[in-house]
């Protein structure tokens, strides 16, 4: 049994090496993925607001949206690999010119969305609003500086 599983595992490991060592992702696909995750994030924010501010009665859904916002908020930091500044994107090249500043805002998103998830889990209403506001500051701050304005 063991000698059958091990080679298979090894084979898998070997096969996955190229994907890890050299990113085989085309920049265009990386951009598409970034947009899809950002759209998912904003859709969860929109749904979260409709529940949180009592526009719809699906209170039971609030946690799912908050969890998704926190998860996607964590993913954002890997969505801007080098080489994805050109093409069908509103991301401004400034992102790759001042990576530390940019990463700080993504760190704010990660921290505030985690707080949002925790506050919702604890049914802490003021904490939820405070975290939502802090998350908005991170989102706005980033969009203000690093996203192309509408044209």
């Amino acid at each position: 049994m063991r000698h059958r599983v091990l080679p298979a595992l090894l084979a898998c490991a070997v096969l996955s090496v190229p994907a890890v060592a050299v990113s085989a992702t085309a920049p265009a696909d990386a951009i598409k993925y970034r947009k899809a995750v950002m759209a998912a994030l904003s859709n969860h924010v929109s749904a979260f607001m409709l529940v949180n501010f009592g526009k719809v009665e699906h209170q039971g859904h609030l946690k799912a949206h908050a969890n998704a916002i926190a998860d996607l908020g964590t993913q954002a930091k890997v969505l801007f690999p080098a080489g994805t500044d050109a093409g069908d994107t509103d991301a401004l090249p400034l992102i790759w010119k001042e990576p530390d500043k940019f990463r700080k805002l993504l760190g704010d998103l990660e921290a505030s969305s985690a707080k949002l998830r925790d506050a919702v889990a604890a049914n802490d209403k003021p904490g939820t609003l405070a975290a939502f506001k802090a998350m908005g500051e991170a989102c706005k701050g980033c969009h203000d500086r690093y996203r192309k304005a509408d044209d």
Binding site: L41, S42, N43, H44, V45, S46, A47, F48, M49, F53, K55, F132, K133, G136, E137, C139, K140, G141, C142, H143, D144, R145, R147, A149, D150, D151
Partner: protein
């Protein structure tokens, strides 16, 4: 000896004189100090109200330099317009570089007529054409708050303007053509909420300065109030916020407008970027829920703008 004759006593002989001199000196010193003291003693309620109005007036957004650690209201932000680059001045009460020594009358004239205490004209990048509607009570409260700030010594760079605008006297002519001073007059046919919103949107909050398109002379096109400006400050395209369903916010509910003003979140879950991001942080997020609702009420009363001429 005539030393006792009235009016002829040598000073050294009068034991009361040194006290009189001292009292005079003291009175003089008090006169020098008192105006400052009297100013500093603005009632805390007025200072608080002034702080609120300074947020609602969007003063922070332009009068604070755009860099980390900038002193609030000490000036220095560059405002790029189609007419050149303007640098917002220092509003802290520093005597040399700020508003130290300004009276409420000076402040009222600056805000509502666009004229500095030395009689020179401001450029309308400073929104006096909107601020002209501000009430006396609000001018006084704003003055109380500005005086309460710690003076910061900071001079804004000179404006960077084309030659034909370098004389502020040009603005005398511009004002004749484009500017009418006048306080906001509530419309008795409308609700208190609507009137409060109108005061905030048209005057104190000066939303039209960015959201209303301008003519060739840079005057706001009042027939297209808040219909969006394709060439806004910094070259930004500023959106239509009339009730137009596609180009404007005609599909937004009142609550969606209120939430946008508080959190910067759009109904689709996206967050505003660009210059509105700072407006939300410095201004609309700081307002009371009632004032945000009043703004929404006013905005929802606007006719949908027709699409702009190509």
């Amino acid at each position: 000896m005539k030393t006792d004759a009235p009016g002829a006593r040598p000073g050294s002989r009068n034991p009361l004189l040194p006290w009189r001199v001292a009292a005079l000196l003291l009175a003089g010193a008090l006169l020098l100090v008192l105006p400052g003291r009297a100013r500093a003693a603005d009632p805390p309620a007025a200072v608080d109200r002034g702080r609120y109005l300074v947020h609602a007036g969007g003063c922070l957004t332009c009068h604070t330099a755009d860099r980390p650690g900038a002193i609030p209201l000490a000036g220095g932000r560059a405002l790029e317009t189609t007419f050149g680059t303007f640098y917002a001045p220092n509003l802290t009460p520093d005597r040399a570089t700020g508003l130290g020594g300004w009276t409420d009358a000076d402040l009222g004239r600056a805000l509502r007529e666009g004229i500095a205490p030395d009689g020179s004209y401001y450029y309308p990048v400073f929104p006096y054409p909107a601020y002209t509607g501000i009430s006396d009570a609000d001018v006084e409260a704003i003055g109380a708050y500005l005086r309460s700030l710690r003076p910061a010594r900071q001079t804004a760079p000179e404006h960077d303007l084309p030659w034909y605008l370098s004389s502020r006297l040009v603005m005398f002519g511009w004002n004749l053509l484009n500017f009418t001073a006048g306080r906001f007059a509530p419309d008795p046919a409308r609700s208190a909420d609507w009137n409060r919103g109108a005061y905030l949107v048209r005057h104190l909050g000066h939303c039209g300065e960015c959201h209303t398109p301008r003519d060739a002379l840079g005057a706001l096109d009042s027939s297209r109030e808040l219909a969006g400006n394709p060439a806004g400050p910094g070259g930004e395209k500023i959106p239509d916020i009339t009730q137009a369903r596609d180009s404007g916010i005609g599909r937004w509910s009142t609550d969606e407008i209120v939430m946008f003003l508080e959190y910067g979140v759009l109904p689709d879950g996206d967050f505003a970027g660009s210059s509105m991001s700072d407006v939300i942080t410095d201004n609309t997020a700081q307002l009371t829920p009632e004032d945000r609702r009043a703004i929404a009420t006013y905005l929802q009363s606007l006719d949908p703008a027709s699409p702009p001429q190509p």
